[in-house]
């Protein structure tokens, strides 16, 4: 009898990444998304199965947002660290990639100079040091990971070491992001000031506006998103994931059983920042511009709202949330341009009041009720 008992304990111990059905559903969703660019390329406009380039581009953008939301959910949903500064990491990733894209323009700029146009009108004669090597794609990719990662690590190390928690942490992340935004707004900083980077021509030699390139970027984004989801799932399912939730629920207790929260927080915080940076890097070539407004308070708070709407601490929720909120935004800004802010604002209020667990939470509750009805 004890034997059987023990085995069921082992069952408790072993946690699969996803249930078989979940894997299937995920694959299905991914497949649907992956199909769209093909439909766009394969069928002529007007054909019933044609997907407009606009829709593809839009979804590509949303997937970048979704990835950022996912990253934010890792820290907020699991470790209970609310960041109002993820827009910063997103933008830094974007800028890192943007530097390469700017170099890739070559002499096709307005001034036919080796330098980007904004450096020309600043009368700069050469690239500042921090632009060196950015003409190499892979170095830029390295920066995409390193810059947000390092910043997050250093900032996080000091913040967590001095045990800054909750609202305080949120506010200083906001301060950091705001400062960074002001810094990037300055033309003298060397990142194009308010205009940021735009008018990209090519990436790795491919014309950046060609449908093929678009599709490729789209698929890469989709893959990255899926990868990020699996990775995040793996982390949260591991024992480390359980430590993180413990940090969220009772950090001091965790100390007394021998864990030092610093390292765990730092790990997930940095991971999240890196994911966010990658999302930003994928975002830039698809929307064709990166500028400091991505670091504005508004952007970061909206990210939080995507997570909240989708359901924090569920990983899939933020992805849905990012899609839903931005979808609504796109829709509203066209159908009721004068009043969409009312609608959006109201949604935020209602979600916080009546959907504390977000869309996913609602879905779960409905599911449960449904099953009870059946039983």
């Amino acid at each position: 009898m004890k034997q059987t008992a023990l085995t069921d304990l082992h069952l408790l111990a072993r946690r699969p990444l996803y249930s078989g059905r979940a894997w299937a559903a995920l694959a299905a969703a991914a497949a649907v998304l992956a199909l769209l660019p093909l439909l766009n390329l394969a069928f002529p406009p007007g054909h019933a199965l044609h997907v407009s380039a606009y829709a593809v581009a839009l979804l590509g953008k949303f997937m970048c947002y979704a990835m950022a939301a996912l990253a934010l959910d890792l820290v907020w949903g699991y470790a209970g660290i609310l960041s109002l500064g993820h827009g910063l990491f997103f933008a830094l990733g974007g800028y890192a990639h943007g530097m390469y894209l700017m170099r890739a323009i070559g002499r096709d700029g307005v001034y036919q100079s080796d330098l980007p146009d904004f450096m020309v009108f600043l009368d700069w004669k050469a690239y500042p040091w921090y632009w060196s090597f950015t003409e190499h794609f892979w170095y830029a990719m390295l920066l995409v990971v390193l810059v947000p990662g390092l910043l997050a690590f250093v900032f996080g190390y000091f913040a967590f070491r001095s045990r800054i928690k909750g609202v305080y942490f949120s506010i200083i992340t906001q301060a950091l992001t705001f400062a960074a935004m002001l810094l990037f707004f300055r033309n003298d900083t060397g990142f194009g000031g308010n205009n940021g980077f735009t008018d990209f021509k090519r990436i790795l030699g491919f014309d950046i506006t060609a449908p093929g390139t678009r599709a490729a970027l789209y698929w890469i984004t989709l893959a990255a998103l899926a990868g990020a989801l699996v990775l995040a799932r793996a982390v949260t399912q591991s024992k480390l994931g359980r430590v993180l939730t413990a940090v969220r629920d009772s950090e001091s207790r965790l100390r007394f059983i021998g864990y030092d929260p610093l390292g765990f927080k730092l790990f997930v915080w940095t991971l999240s920042a890196v994911l966010c940076g990658v999302a930003g890097a994928l975002y830039v070539p698809q929307v064709g511009i990166i500028n400091p407004s991505e670091m504005s308070t508004e952007t970061s708070i909206e990210m939080v709202i995507w997570v909240a709407t989708g359901g924090r601490g569920t990983l899939v929720g933020p992805i849905i949330g990012a899609g839903a909120v931005n979808g609504l935004k796109t829709w509203f800004t066209s159908v009721l341009p004068e009043f969409w802010l009312y609608a959006l604002g109201l949604i935020f209020v209602l979600v916080t009041l009546f959907l504390p667990t977000g869309i996913v939470g609602l879905a779960r509750r409905l599911a449960v009720r449904f099953q009870e009805r059946k039983a």
Binding site: A5, L6, L9, H10, L12, A13, R14, Y157, V235, S238, K239, L240, R242, V243, T245, A246, R248, D249, S250, S252, R253, L254, R255, F256, I257, G258, Y259, D260, L262, G263, F264, L266, F267
Partner: protein, 279 residues
């Protein structure tokens, strides 16, 4: 040692220096003088108010020590000092002969082999009973090992045994938040045991328990006696009588030791009667 810690903390964010204790103890702890914990002249003051005042006290290996005293006598503060939550304004705290606790943080102290149970039961309510024990289980608690750790068979067995011990086997898969008050108390004790500490600090372990539960808890502690050193802070005199036996009892008053000795002797002490039992 602290330096190596901070340094390593920068590398992998985890306490590594003291993780050493985690691995080598109990053998590693030098208790050659028979005592496991020394408090010497501890003073703690918050903005002038002295919560502890030149407190001196030591606990022997395998001893079960009961600490009693009226509210505000400084019992909880003393535990805070031992577990590193509060730094003493003056005085030294030694764990065994060699470890100066005042230089370590909570996590390091926990690793060194001191477990603490709080006044209000604090368990991770979102986690299942099983997970609570798993988290507490003694192992390398740095980041990387935690990330890649898989639960081995005998680890699961140990959790199983503990579950039996604290009688929560049926609730293993329940979120801890759903447990009754007493069950939470036991779960917390269970978590202490999983840490395999050499010194257990128990802050009012039977507060709010039914008589049956209290009874059971007493038995539990008696089972632990000898295997671990225990320090029990308690108000409930009957309970103290039940577990203290002929062991030493310490009476705290206004932040320092008022009386010390077997229960019978202490209860007879007029000063103790005056400040505590009398009322």
């Amino acid at each position: 040692m602290t330096s190596t810690h901070t340094e390593s903390a920068m590398l992998d964010g985890g306490p590594s220096g003291e993780a050493g204790y985690g691995r080598v103890s109990p053998g590693g702890l030098d208790t050659s003088h028979g005592a496991i914990l020394y408090l010497e002249g501890i003073t703690v003051s918050f903005d002038g108010f002295k919560a502890l005042n030149d407190l001196t006290l030591d606990i022997g290996v395998g001893e079960l020590r009961c600490i009693i005293g009226p509210n505000g006598a400084g019992k909880t503060t003393m535990m805070d000092v031992i577990t590193g939550k509060t730094r003493p304004t003056a005085g030294t705290v030694y764990f065994g002969q060699s470890i100066d606790l005042t230089t370590l943080n909570e996590a390091q102290i926990a690793h060194a082999g001191i477990g603490r149970k709080f006044q209000r039961p604090t368990v991770f309510e979102q986690h299942t009973v099983f997970e609570n024990l798993e988290l507490a289980m003694k192992t390398d608690k740095r980041v990387r090992p935690t990330l890649f750790s898989r639960l081995s068979g005998e680890q699961a067995d140990r959790i199983g045994e503990t579950l039996e011990l604290i009688r929560l086997r049926p609730e293993a898969a329940l979120p801890a938040g759903l447990l009754s008050h007493g069950q939470k108390q036991w779960l917390e004790i269970g978590m202490l045991l999983m840490q395999e500490p050499q010194l257990l600090l128990l802050d009012e372990p039977v507060a709010g328990m039914t008589d049956a539960e209290t009874e059971r808890t007493g038995e539990l502690l008696n089972e632990l006696r000898g295997r671990h050193s225990l320090m029990v802070v308690e108000h409930d005199m009957d309970f103290v009588n039940q577990i203290a036996g002929d062991g030493k009892v310490t009476v705290l008053h206004e932040g320092s030791v008022l009386a010390e000795g077997p229960m019978s002797k202490v209860q007879a002490d007029p000063r103790v009667i005056e400040v505590y039992l009398g009322r």
